[in-house]
């Protein structure tokens, strides 16, 4: 019995270590090329099928973004149901211990879509998820190896088990009176000069901080250095230790700052509001505020 207890304690200590992240949250083309032969590595190319077939990173599987963010009723860019998402990820050859690198066209115009897929995979329960800095554009610019033949992955065994700590819905947001709410949309949208067609009201939610998703990338389409991103959040007065909820219009732009705060900076309690303003501002009992800054 004593040996059993010792073994149990040992396992309980080792288990979290085994599942700890062992890949950086953002990787570059040089790292990826050096690790292409790693059997745990799964390069997920999320571009359109036509673009993937025209050329992709050697060994990359195609999981189009639209497999990972779907329309649910009238709400855009929602997380698929667990069984549907499991099918998609298993078909991509993903196992629980896989190191998944998400690749989109670039990390400038398409950066938020890459982080959105990254967030979804983390929310689905995968630990080792990274984004290729600069996307496929950076890969080809660096003359790294490509192929045109589609890759048929051996089916993986990963089963989606959503991590509720990464997710917020409308009820959660409205009840989270102490959380710092971050609005990842543009200044114009936050202030209420303009709005997305998917959002019913001008302005922003209650006490939200404006923190545009466009601030996270350099002019040439790469993630800004970690220290710069940390500094932006600090200068705004955000507390890394406080619960943070990020929202935007449809939960895509919000995923940028979620990715940075949770995965790059290591903040412990960050949630992406998946439904974001398309759900929140559609509720007549919720009053967005226009014409003010925080």
């Amino acid at each position: 019995m004593k040996k059993f207890l010792i073994a149990l304690i040992g396992l309980s200590v080792l288990a979290p270590m085994a599942m700890a992240r062992d890949i950086a949250s953002v990787v570059d083309a040089t790292w990826l090329e050096a690790n292409l032969a790693n059997p745990r590595l799964v390069v997920v190319d999320m571009r359109k099928v036509e673009d993937y077939k025209a050329g992709h990173i050697t060994g990359a599987v195609n999981v189009i973004g639209a497999s990972v963010y779907v329309k649910a009723g009238d709400v855009l860019n929602e997380v698929p149901q667990a069984d549907d998402l499991t099918d998609v990820l298993q078909a991509a050859g993903i196992n629980a211990d896989s190191q998944v690198v998400v690749v989109d066209t670039d990390t400038s115009a398409r950066l938020a879509w890459a982080t959105r897929v990254g967030w979804t995979l983390k929310y689905a329960g995968l630990e080792n998820v990274a984004i290729l800095d600069g996307g496929y554009a950076a890969w080809t610019k660096a003359s790294k190896p490509v192929q045109t033949d589609p890759v048929a992955a051996k089916s993986g065994s990963f089963v989606v088990k959503f991590n509720p700590a990464f997710f917020a819905d409308k009820a959660y947001v409205m009840a989270a009176k102490k959380a710092q709410i971050v609005d990842a949309r543009t200044y114009d949208t936050y202030f209420g000069v303009s709005k997305s067609a998917t959002t019913a009201q001008f302005g922003h939610y209650a006490s939200a901080w404006p923190l545009p998703s466009t601030w996270i990338a350099t002019a040439d389409g790469f993630f800004k250095p970690k220290a710069d991103l940390e500094s932006i959040a600090a200068r705004l007065g955000l507390d890394p230790k406080a619960e943070t909820i990020v929202y935007c219009d449809t939960g895509v732009a919000a995923s940028t700052w979620w990715w940075i705060m949770s995965e790059m900076l290591g903040w412990k309690s960050v949630r992406n509001f998946d439904g974001s303003s398309q759900v929140l501002a559609a509720d007549p009992s919720v009053k967005y505020i226009a014409g003010t800054w925080r």
């Binding site: 099928v49 036509e50 195609n62 189009i64 855009l76 069984d83 549907d84």
Partner: protein, 341 residues
């Protein structure tokens, strides 16, 4: 896509080895552009005999195919027309409108098709390609079907697209080039994709799926349960002015197979669509305003496969009396599905 011809193709592509004039006519020895272009044929493959000189049967069949003749559009509306209407339709509307969109061999194998007067350019610097779905099929079928297939219309991407398939993975040359004998419309084609051609209902992975397939066999089309999201439905087309479109997922009685629940797509022809051409559509009510359609947004699990009550209680997406267009065809009523049929 581009507009510049890759000069190296004269060496590598046999089609170009005999020089431009072989297909395009004109005068390659002329001193000026204007003189060189005297007698120029811009779309040489509109004459299928040209391609047929090497690609005999394919070109011969293609000259009678639906993509080339577009007679499917003519035959689709014909039951609504009187004998007088037909003469006027064939002479004006069909030639000026429907048939102007026909695809020549070159529209699929050399350059993307011209849409609304805008050329989409060469596929690969005038290289003759076997296929390039995204630059050919997708350009003509960019209103309905292709954007629904890729999810860009706003719904969910088709599961086949998610798995890397594009048009020609299902639609084979025999269908696209046409059979030896011409057919009145695409439904009459013997060679066309069929879900059960790949997915045997009895081979479903779970007992529940096997039971569901067996229970609904003949009573519901595959798309009735497996169409995942809204697709484009067009309304109110007026000659010269176009139509408007609205997303919708509509389930009703199959106008071509009574008693089968299927996905319906609203078609835009209204009573006075052809009025500007002096065509009355005297028999307008002989056809409904909806046709059975297979929206290309297939998904394994939908609200209907997950819950029997979606159809059998809530009748979600079912066509209702209140949905029918005001002033629409009297044939529409028959499309409202009744479970006691």
């Amino acid at each position: 896509m581009g507009y510049v011809i890759d000069a190296s193709l004269t060496e590598s592509d046999v089609h170009l080895s005999q020089g431009c004039v072989t297909c395009h006519s004109g005068n390659e020895n002329a001193a000026t552009r204007d003189l060189a272009h005297v007698g120029l044929v811009k779309r040489p493959s509109d004459d299928t005999d040209l391609c047929g000189s090497c690609h005999g049967d394919i070109a011969t069949n293609y000259s009678k195919s639906l993509h080339f003749t577009t007679v499917g559009m003519k035959n689709g509306v014909r039951p609504r027309l009187s004998a007088t209407d037909i003469k006027a339709f064939d002479g004006k509307v069909f030639v000026q409108s429907c048939n102007s969109c026909h695809a020549s061999c070159g529209d699929c194998h050399v350059k993307g098709p011209t849409v609304s007067g805008i050329s989409t350019g060469l596929i690969q610097g005038h290289r003759f390609v076997r296929k390039d779905d995204a630059k050919t099929c997708a350009v003509c079928h960019n209103g309905r079907v292709y954007p629904e297939f890729t999810g860009e219309y706003g719904g969910n991407a088709d599961v086949h697209y998610q798995k890397g398939m594009t048009c020609t993975d299902c639609h084979k040359p025999a269908e696209l080039h046409g059979p030896e004998a011409s057919v009145p419309g695409r439904k009459a084609l013997a060679e066309k994709p069929s879900c059960v051609g790949c997915h045997k209902p009895e081979a479903a992975k779970t007992d529940a799926a096997k039971t569901a397939h067996a229970t609904h066999a003949g009573k519901a089309s595959c798309s009735a349960c497996h169409s995942s999201s809204e697709y484009r439905n067009c309304y109110g087309c007026h000659l010269g002015a176009g139509a408007t479109s609205v997303p919708g997922l509509i389930l009703g009685d199959n106008p071509r197979k009574a008693g089968q629940l299927t996905t319906l797509r609203h078609i835009p022809t209204v009573r006075d669509t052809f009025a500007p051409a002096g065509i009355a559509q005297s028999n307008y009510d002989s056809l409904p305003n909806y046709w059975d359609a297979v929206p290309h947004n297939t998904k394994k699990r939908t609200d209907r496969t997950r819950d029997c009550a979606a159809c059998h209680v809530a009748q979600a997406h079912f066509l209702k009396e209140s949905d029918l267009p005001v002033g629409g065809s009297k044939s529409n009523q028959a499309l409202i599905f009744k479970f006691d049929k």
